[in-house]
């Protein structure tokens, strides 16, 4: 008789010997580094810069495995990206797991291996962590929180407050891939050209941009939940200026456009997990764009619009047929648990 695969028990969250085994067998071996190894409740590290960035994100995506990634890869990329778009070099992550009783060990192991691999490729270390187990029906397989610390080099302080009229709006690639990939997986939609999540760490791209135009970038953001439209609305509100973009200039893959038309979604509101939006001073826009296009993750970068004086605090979309309409903030929920 085949053995039932090993599952997570409530006792794996007890703090006792099963917790210890979980940490040693699953986490320590995967995240292997000198900071984590002492298994203290905190990790100690030295920094060279006095100016640090700190961020946190909990990941509750459903399903936990999806085309182009999984909750582990997402939890590393997402937090790296939150640091990177603030102009910080990501250094260290924490990882905290809320596991539902009954989860298969090998699924957890796959997620953790994916986190470890993504972190390694990105040159960041996972140096402290925590695990909790909740009863069956009180969670949903796995939630992961990662907090991240990065160093701000060269005093780069990016902020939407710095946006000025005349600035140029650039996106680093096609919009909506992550949203459609999750939706298709969740609803079992069969697509001629399957869409993969764009889930990727953006810090190398950001580094290339900051090197190319050290003083040219006003603000950056990664358009996750709520997509491009939400980020631009935040920029518009914070700068009290108008973000004017051209629909025809916004990169959207044909298969994403097709899926959106059938399913009634707008790609400008769909989540992305490996894209950024930058507002750049006009004199630096073309240098920034060409630096972005040289990075594999910025190959499809495009200038999509400009910042104007009016209407204050608004995002204006010039459609393909030449009309202008306001892009509002998302008011309801488009796709729950997309990240």
């Amino acid at each position: 008789m085949p053995k039932e695969p090993e599952r997570i028990l409530l006792a794996h969250g007890s703090g006792g010997s099963l917790s210890r085994r979980l940490v040693e067998d699953i986490f320590l071996s995967a995240f292997d580094n000198a900071f984590l190894a002492p298994l203290n409740d905190q990790a100690v590290f030295d920094v060279s810069s006095r100016s640090l960035a700190f961020t946190t994100d909990s990941y509750v995506i459903r399903p936990i495995f999806f085309p182009g990634g999984d909750i582990g890869k997402l939890s590393v990329c997402g937090t790296i990206n939150d640091l990177a778009v603030g102009g910080a070099v990501p250094l260290y992550l924490s990882a905290s797991f809320i596991i539902e009783e009954g989860m298969f060990f090998d699924e957890l192991q796959r997620v953790v291996a994916s986190m470890a691999q993504t972190a390694k490729k990105a040159g960041v270390q996972i140096i402290t962590g925590d695990t909790k187990v909740v009863e069956r029906g009180k969670g949903d397989k796995l939630f992961i929180n990662t907090a991240g610390i990065g160093e701000i080099k060269n005093g780069a302080r990016l902020s939407p407050d710095k946006i000025k009229a005349g600035d140029v709006i650039i996106v680093s690639g096609s919009m909506g891939d992550h949203g459609i990939a999750i939706l298709a997986e969740r609803d079992g939609i069969d697509m001629d050209t399957p869409v993969l999540s764009d889930c990727a760490p953006l810090h190398d791209l950001v580094c290339a941009m900051l090197l190319a135009v050290p003083d040219g970038i006003r603000a950056m953001r990664d358009p996750t939940r709520g997509g491009l439209a939400t980020v631009l609305n935040e920029f518009a509100a914070r700068s009290n200026l108008a973000m004017t973009i051209k629909e025809a200039a916004i990169p959207v893959k044909p298969e994403v456009k097709g899926a959106c038309e059938i399913l009634g979604f707008d790609p400008l509101y769909l989540a992305n997990e490996g894209k950024l939006i930058a507002v750049v001073s006009p004199e630096n826009a073309s240098a920034c764009l060409s630096a972005m296009k040289k990075d594999p993750l910025g190959r499809d970068s495009a200038i999509i619009g400009t910042v104007e004086e009016k209407p204050k605090g608004r995002v204006i979309l010039e459609t393909q047929v030449g009309s202008r309409r306001i892009l509002e903030m998302l008011s309801g929920e488009q796709l729950p648990r997309i990240c």
Copy 2:
């Protein structure tokens, strides 16, 4: 007709306008500080020390309100304590919320107010955060993750590796209060003398100890899940020495002792949320103890045992009747979701 109290909707997790309202109405006002106010995805701060400590913890305690505290107070104290017992001065916290759809707004508001008050009293700031909403039945009202950053002053590096034979084991007060408080609340047990959770931030106590005996403390730990027995087992394993303690010397409140006898729990394995265990060099033990007793959170501090050469890696309990037995690591689950 009375209006139904406002509840959390899935759309509060969308990243759109309802998310923004949630952040502004509930979190920004409560955690009010200059780091958080820009509402960027990361907070930027300066440090004066080059040596930092980093920790994370997810809190899944059930119920979220309990005698002596709530999940908000716990999530701030717990992470402060993880930093403090490593010899770090807690500076900044992140806060990430996984909210179950349908949670009442006013309950969330009470939790957040409690976090803000606890952080303020402890002199730490919550400078970055995140919220996610999961569908009804896919979470349990509220899970909170806090990650924390602290500064290591004066190069104090505490670690169980530094424990030596002859060292003295001190606890800062009575064992098992938190565990019994949660259990009584959860099971509706009526007690003559109700037990309150000891949930409290320990960094002032730690600071007083480090001032009194700067080089005298080898290792510290807060005995949460798994209690005193688990911490001592970790110390024993890491130092490869024997932790020998006297049952009669361990402070346990009579009402906790009584509840344990009736319910079949061992107070040495019950969770605490405002206590610490320190291993101190013999020549510094009495100075350390008297510094601890001067702090309100260390009033009931007691020397409970010593470190011996043998049996290596074991915890030995000398019982009240004079016998000696091995205190093992917890092997199953005593009380799920105690923190």
